[in-house]
C-alpha cells in the first residue's frame, strides 16, 4: 500500500510544486557556486596534473638554493633517476605580429622522450614539429584574444628572429597556467635561445625551462620504475633531513596548490556566503509552502485525530511529505544542474561537480526540506477534531 504521504504529494502536487521548485533552484545555486569555484580552484593545478611526474621536491625554506644544489647532486640519491627544475613565474614578453605588439609568455620545453616536465597534451608529433627552430605552439585562448592564426609569425624585439605558429593547445588547460604562472606558448630550448639570446636561463637539466624565471619553485623527479612513489618519498625525506627539502606526491602537490588557492582567494569567502544564503533563503520560503500545504490538508489531519490515530503517525506523514519534497528537489536540481552545466560550458565557463559535491548538495537540500518540515509541524494541530462537527 502506498503511504498516505506519497499519495498526498502525488495528488496535491500543485501544493508542493513551489516547495520543490524553490529547493531545486537553491540546490542548483549551490551547484553553480560550488561547481564554478571548484573548477577555478582545480584549474590552479591543471598544469601540474598534466605533467607525468613521479614525485615533486620542494624547498621548505624561503629560497631555492637548496633546490639548485639538489639538481647538481642527483647522483647522490638512489631514488632519483632524473630531476628537472619546475620554474615559477613567467613574465610576458613582447612579440610583434604584423604591426601590432602583443604580450606572450613563452616556456621552453625539452623535446626528449624521457622528459618529465612536459605536459601530456604536447604530443610526440608536436614535439617533432617543435624541433624545427623558429616554431611555437600557443594556447587557443590567444587564438581568439590576439587573433592568432596558423602560420602567423611572431617577431622578437629587434626583428632578428621570428616564431611561426604551428599549432594550438586546448584553452581549458590554459587556465592552469594562470595558477602555475607558466607560459602561454611552448618552444624548444634552441628556438628560445635564438629568439631571446640575452635572457638568463635556469640550470638546464630537462624540460620546463621558461624564460624570465624568478626562481625554481620545485623539482620534478623520476624514480626507478620498480619503486613505489610512497616508499621513494619516505626514503628521500629521510635523506633530506636538515636540507630544508621535502618530497611530495603529485596528488599532494595538486591538493596543496588548490588549498593555497582556496585560502588565498576571496572566492572562498564569497562561496561560503553564497552557500549560507542558498540554504537560508529557500528554507524560509519552504517553511511557508510546507505549512500552507499542511493547512490545506488540515481536515485530513483532524480526521486522523478523530479516528484516534496516534500523533506520531500524523507527524511522520507530514515529515514524509517533507522528505518526498526534498527528494524531488534533489532530483530536479540535479537535472537542472546538468542543463546549466552544459549551457555554461557552451559559453566557456567550466563547472566541476564531483560525486562528493552531489552528495553534499543533495544532503543539504534534504536537510533543508526536513528542517522546514519540522518547523511547519505545528500546522498539523491547527484544526481540532471537534471542528469536523458542524
Amino acid at each position: 500500500m502506498k503511504s498516505l504521504a506519497r499519495s498526498n504529494v502525488g495528488f496535491h502536487w500543485r501544493l508542493f510544486l513551489s516547495a520543490v521548485s524553490v529547493l531545486a533552484l537553491s540546490g542548483c545555486l549551490i551547484y553553480v557556486a560550488v561547481g564554478i569555484s571548484a573548477a577555478n580552484i582545480r584549474s590552479f593545478s591543471t598544469y601540474q596534473r598534466s605533467l607525468d611526474v613521479d614525485l615533486y621536491i620542494r624547498s621548505t625554506g624561503r629560497d631555492s638554493v637548496s633546490l639548485q644544489k639538489l639538481l647538481t647532486e642527483v647522483d647522490l640519491y638512489e631514488d632519483i633517476i632524473r630531476a628537472e627544475p619546475y620554474l615559477g613565474r613567467t613574465r610576458p614578453q613582447q612579440v610583434r605580429l604584423d604591426d601590432e605588439v602583443k604580450q606572450l609568455s613563452i616556456a621552453e620545453i625539452e623535446l626528449g622522450e624521457d622528459v618529465i616536465l612536459v605536459p601530456r597534451f604536447i604530443s610526440s608529433e608536436a614535439k617533432e614539429a617543435l624541433s624545427v627552430p623558429g616554431t611555437i605552439i600557443v594556447s587557443s585562448t590567444l587564438k581568439e584574444k590576439n587573433d592568432f592564426k596558423m602560420g602567423d609569425v611572431l617577431w622578437n624585439s629587434d626583428d632578428s628572429f621570428g616564431l611561426e605558429i604551428i599549432g594550438f593547445f586546448d584553452a581549458a588547460v590554459n587556465r592552469g597556467f594562470i595558477g602555475a604562472r607558466t607560459g602561454y606558448g611552448f618552444v624548444s630550448p634552441e628556438t628560445g635561445r635564438l629568439f631571446s639570446p640575452s635572457t638568463p636561463r635556469a640550470i638546464h637539466f630537462g624540460g620546463g625551462v621558461s624564460r624570465n624565471f624568478s626562481r625554481i619553485s620545485m623539482v620534478g623527479v623520476r624514480i626507478p620504475p620498480d619503486t613505489s612513489p610512497e616508499i621513494a618519498k619516505q626514503r628521500l625525506n629521510q635523506q633530506f633531513k636538515g636540507a630544508s627539502l621535502e618530497a611530495i606526491t603529485p596528488q599532494e602537490m595538486g591538493r596543496r596548490t588548490s588549498l593555497d588557492a582556496i585560502l588565498e582567494s576571496k572566492q572562498f569567502q564569497g562561496f561560503l556566503v553564497v552557500g549560507v544564503f542558498a540554504v537560508l533563503i529557500p528554507l524560509f520560503i519552504i517553511v511557508q509552502t510546507l505549512r500552507s500545504a499542511i493547512l490545506t490538508q488540515s481536515q485530513q489531519f483532524a480526521t486522523m485525530r478523530a479516528l484516534g490515530i496516534p500523533s506520531r503517525h500524523l507527524v511522520s506523514t507530514a515529515m514524509e511529505q517533507a522528505f518526498w519534497v526534498g527528494t524531488l528537489g534533489i532530483g530536479v536540481s540535479y537535472c537542472v544542474m546538468l542543463g546549466v552545466k552544459a549551457g555554461l560550458l557552451g559559453r566557456g565557463i567550466d563547472m566541476y561537480v564531483t560525486s562528493t559535491v552531489v552528495w553534499y548538495v543533495s544532503a543539504a537540500i534534504l536537510l533543508a526540506a526536513l528542517i522546514a518540515g519540522v518547523i511547519s509541524l505545528t500546522a498539523i494541530f491547527k484544526m481540532k477534531p471537534q471542528d469536523l462537527l458542524r
Binding site: M1, K2, L4, S7, N8, G10, F11, H12, Q299, Q300, A302, T303, M304, R305, A306, L307, G308, I309, P310, S311, H313, K384, P385, Q386, L388, L389, R390
Partner: protein
C-alpha cells in the same frame, strides 16, 4: 455525583451522562451549548438526536465521543469515566471503541476507496493484508465493491458518505457517532444511509447516536431525543416530554 438514570433490564447502557454542561464564550458572547444533560444510550440501538441548529447537538457528540471535554458533569463510556483520563488515553479510547461519520465525510482526497478504509487501519496497528481484507469486506457491505480505486472526487456525495460509513464500520466500533450524515444527500440516498447504520447497530450490537434534522431518518430510529438550547426536551422512550432536568 447525582444518581445516574436507572438501566433498563433488557439493554446495556453503553454511555451514561450525568449533569453534562458546556459553555462557550464569556459575558454577552456566553452561549450554553449543553445544560445539565443526563441521559443513557444503549448498545444495539440507533438513537436520533434532533433539534434546531445551534441547540447543542454537535457539542453533545463531541462530549460523548471523546472529542471535546465538557465543562461540568461526567461521561461514563463503556463503564469508565471518559474525561477523567489523560488525553492520550482518550485518543486511545476513540481509536479502540469509537466510530465517527461527519457531515462532510472527512475522507482523504488523495486516496482510492479501498485505501481510504485500509490506511487508517494500518495506522491503528493492523497489518496491511488484514486492513485490505477488512476494507474490501466493508466496501462490499456498503455496495461499493466495484469502486475500490475511486477517489472521493470521482464519486457522488452519497457514495462518499457510504465510504465514510464503511471506514467507520471496518474497525468494528462499539460506539458510533454520526453528525448530520444525510444532510447533503437526496431522499433515496438518505434512506439508504439510515438503513446501513441501523443494520450496523444490529450486526455489531453497537450504540449509534445520530445527529440529524432529517425527518426521513425517523422511521429507522429505535429512539428519538429532542434537544433545545442544550437541554433534552423529549425522549421517545419515556413517551412524554422530558421534565425540566433540574
Amino acid at each position: 455525583m447525582t444518581s445516574l438514570a436507572k438501566q433498563s433490564p433488557t439493554t446495556v447502557a453503553a454511555i451514561q451522562t450525568c449533569g453534562l454542561g458546556k459553555v462557550f464564550g464569556e459575558g454577552r458572547q456566553r452561549v450554553i451549548a449543553l445544560d445539565d444533560v443526563s441521559i443513557e444510550l444503549c448498545s444495539g440501538q440507533m438513537t436520533l438526536l434532533m433539534g434546531p441548529s445551534g441547540s447543542g447537538k454537535s457539542s453533545m457528540i463531541a462530549a460523548l465521543g471523546g472529542l471535546q471535554a465538557p465543562d461540568t458533569g461526567q461521561v461514563i463510556a463503556l463503564g469508565e469515566d471518559l474525561w477523567s483520563r489523560s488525553s492520550r488515553k482518550i485518543t486511545r479510547f476513540r481509536r479502540d471503541h469509537c466510530g465517527f461519520v461527519f457531515q462532510s465525510g472527512g475522507l482523504f482526497p488523495a486516496l482510492g476507496a479501498r485505501d481510504q478504509i485500509a490506511l487508517p487501519l494500518t495506522f491503528l496497528g493492523w497489518s496491511a493484508a488484514e486492513a485490505k481484507r477488512a476494507a474490501c469486506e466493508a466496501l462490499d457491505w456498503v455496495g461499493l465493491a466495484d469502486r475500490q480505486d475511486s477517489r472521493p472526487s470521482e464519486m457522488s456525495g452519497g457514495q462518499n458518505q457510504r465510504i465514510a460509513i464503511a471506514r467507520m464500520l471496518a474497525k468494528k466500533p462499539t460506539l458510533i457517532f454520526c453528525d448530520e450524515p444525510t444532510s447533503a444527500l437526496d431522499g433515496k440516498n438518505g434512506a439508504n444511509i439510515a438503513e446501513l447504520l441501523k443494520q450496523a447497530a444490529a450486526r455489531h450490537n453497537a450504540m449509534i447516536l445520530c445527529v440529524t434534522h432529517d425527518e426521513r431518518l425517523v422511521p429507522h430510529a429505535d429512539r428519538i431525543l429532542h434537544i433545545e438550547d442544550g437541554r433534552i426536551t423529549s425522549d421517545s422512550e419515556e413517551d412524554k416530554p422530558y421534565a425540566a432536568n433540574r
